[in-house]
């Protein structure tokens, strides 16, 4: 096996393009999963089976079917219903939706971990329900779940190459294209492997800083 530095430098322009796409998927996918997961978690607390049953069924279904199947489904079936999006948009939505079914469980645990006394104090002060959620419960719940959400960001990073299946060229996609064109596999695959480690390390550092800032 020969290591060729010139192959590395040849790959670099493609690599930067792929990195940008990977980071877009990661950042936007995370945001979607954070917001949507919270929405699911809150809907599951609505005291009506007409809400909790469908939300529970849909999220259970999404959580227990492969992301790859969901990617193909959204990419090939949505256009048949007249909904056409770019591959990247579809992929970001799919991965965000998939991970939201995990983050909802994290939020649920965080919400349930807020002591009953906090609800009781809010009742005793006559705070409206909405205000109780936004000012008392959620700030405490979210603080507790940041580490767990962070783990899903790292997991999502490792799933971003799946978007290759629906033609999104992220880091692995570019590495594969480059390899096939130049018959050089070692260098591009090594470069993106290192990039994955660096991104997840930086992400976990950022999360640790965030965690420390949230604990006053």
């Amino acid at each position: 096996m020969n290591w060729d530095w010139s192959a590395v430098s040849d790959f670099m322009p493609d690599f930067w393009e792929g990195l940008l796409v990977t980071l877009q998927i990661l950042v936007l996918g995370s945001l979607i999963s954070f917001v949507l997961g919270l929405v699911w978690a809150l809907l599951m607390r609505v005291p009506s089976r007409w809400v909790t049953w469908p939300v529970g069924a849909v999220t259970e279904f999404v959580r227990n079917t492969p992301l790859l199947v969901q990617l193909f489904f959204l990419f090939y079936v949505l256009p048949e219903w007249g909904l056409t999006f770019s591959a990247l948009t579809t992929g970001v939505f799919a991965i965000g939706l998939h991970y939201s079914t995990y983050t909802m469980q994290v939020y649920r645990a965080g919400i349930e971990a807020v002591p009953a006394g906090q609800w009781e104090a809010a009742t005793a002060l006559n705070l409206p329900l909405r205000r109780t959620w936004t000012a008392v419960i959620l700030p405490q719940a979210v603080r507790r779940v940041v580490p767990a959400l962070g783990n899903y960001v790292i997991a999502m990073l490792k799933d971003t190459p799946m978007l290759m299946a629906i033609t999104v060229l992220e880091m692995l996609g570019h590495a594969r294209l480059f390899s096939q064109e130049h018959f050089q596999f070692t260098e591009p695959l090594t470069v993106i492997g290192v990039a994955f480690i660096v991104i997840s390390y930086l992400a976990s550092l950022a999360l640790r800083v965030l965690e420390r800032r949230l604990v006053h």
Binding site: G117, E120, A124, L125, N126, A135, V136, R143, H216
Partner: protein
């Protein structure tokens, strides 16, 4: 000490001396266990009433029913002439404004500063301006002796300090009734006196109606107009503190007092 921040008849009119709280035929069960059994009981405005009795006798349940933290299975609850139970949610919210509560575990909001803990409800519930609410919070903190801690978070305070903030927070809503649920039970012994002194001050200098569940019998003797002895969900003896503590009529009361005093 400034007392104008506290409830008084002009600002928060109560039919002075009249009946403020009435429970009629209130029954509360948890599973098979009947905590309160067709209880009738009323409190006049401005009175300080202490509920004593063994644990599980239903004292705390009465406070929780009045604060609407739990619902009775039967019976009615009326506060200041208005129905609290059964009543539509909108009415419950109105009637509940008359009641404040201090909890055994303080239950301050850990994500807010001391100042915000106190101003949150006056601003969002009573619609006070932020400035007015903060000014009142400062006065109340002076009353409970905590002026230096405005910008701290609850976790930075001792249990006794947290409980005094909780008292200020409850008073900031100008309730007519203050419910005190074993407010010193979770405190280290050396911190109890500070909290009780604050409550004695409030009992002496305001006309707020107090319902107090406590194991601090000296405190109960100091502040109470009336002491109610509970056993198995019923009031078995009631009277002024001098009588209950010195010459109780019931053997059960005597037994209980000799065990706790």
């Amino acid at each position: 000490m400034s007392t104008d921040t506290l409830p008084n008849p002009e600002k928060n009119p109560t039919r002075s001396g009249g009946e403020l709280i009435r429970l009629e035929q209130v029954t509360k069960r948890f599973g098979d266990h009947t905590v309160l059994d067709h209880l009738d009981f009323s409190v006049d405005a401005g009175k300080h009433v202490t509920l004593i009795g063994p644990s599980g006798s239903g004292k705390t349940t009465i406070l929780r029913l009045l604060m609407t933290l739990t619902k009775p299975d039967e019976g009615t609850i009326t506060v200041d002439g208005e129905r609290l139970f059964p009543a539509p949610e909108k009415q419950v919210r109105e009637v509940r404004k008359k009641i404040g509560m201090v909890f055994q575990q303080f239950n301050l909001f850990p994500n807010m500063t001391v100042l915000r803990n106190i101003t949150e409800a006056p601003v969002t519930v009573l619609g006070m301006s932020k400035d007015a609410a903060e000014e009142r919070a400062r006065e109340l903190l002076e009353l409970v002796g905590l002026t230096d801690h405005l910008d701290k978070h609850p976790a930075q305070l001792s249990g006794g300090q947290q409980q005094r903030v909780a008292i200020a927070r409850a008073l900031a809503m100008r309730p007519q009734v203050l419910l005190l649920d074993e407010v010193t039970s979770a405190l280290d012994p050396e911190l109890v006196a500070g909290v009780l002194d604050v409550l004695r001050d409030i009992a002496r200098s305001t006309d707020i109606t107090m319902l107090c569940v406590t194991h601090e019998m000296n405190f109960a003797r100091d502040i109470s107009d009336q002491v109610l002895m509970f056993d198995s969900g019923r009031i078995i003896e009631a009277g002024p503190p001098e009588k209950i503590f010195s010459e109780p009529e019931k053997d059960r009361t005597r037994e209980f007092l000799s065990a706790v005093l």
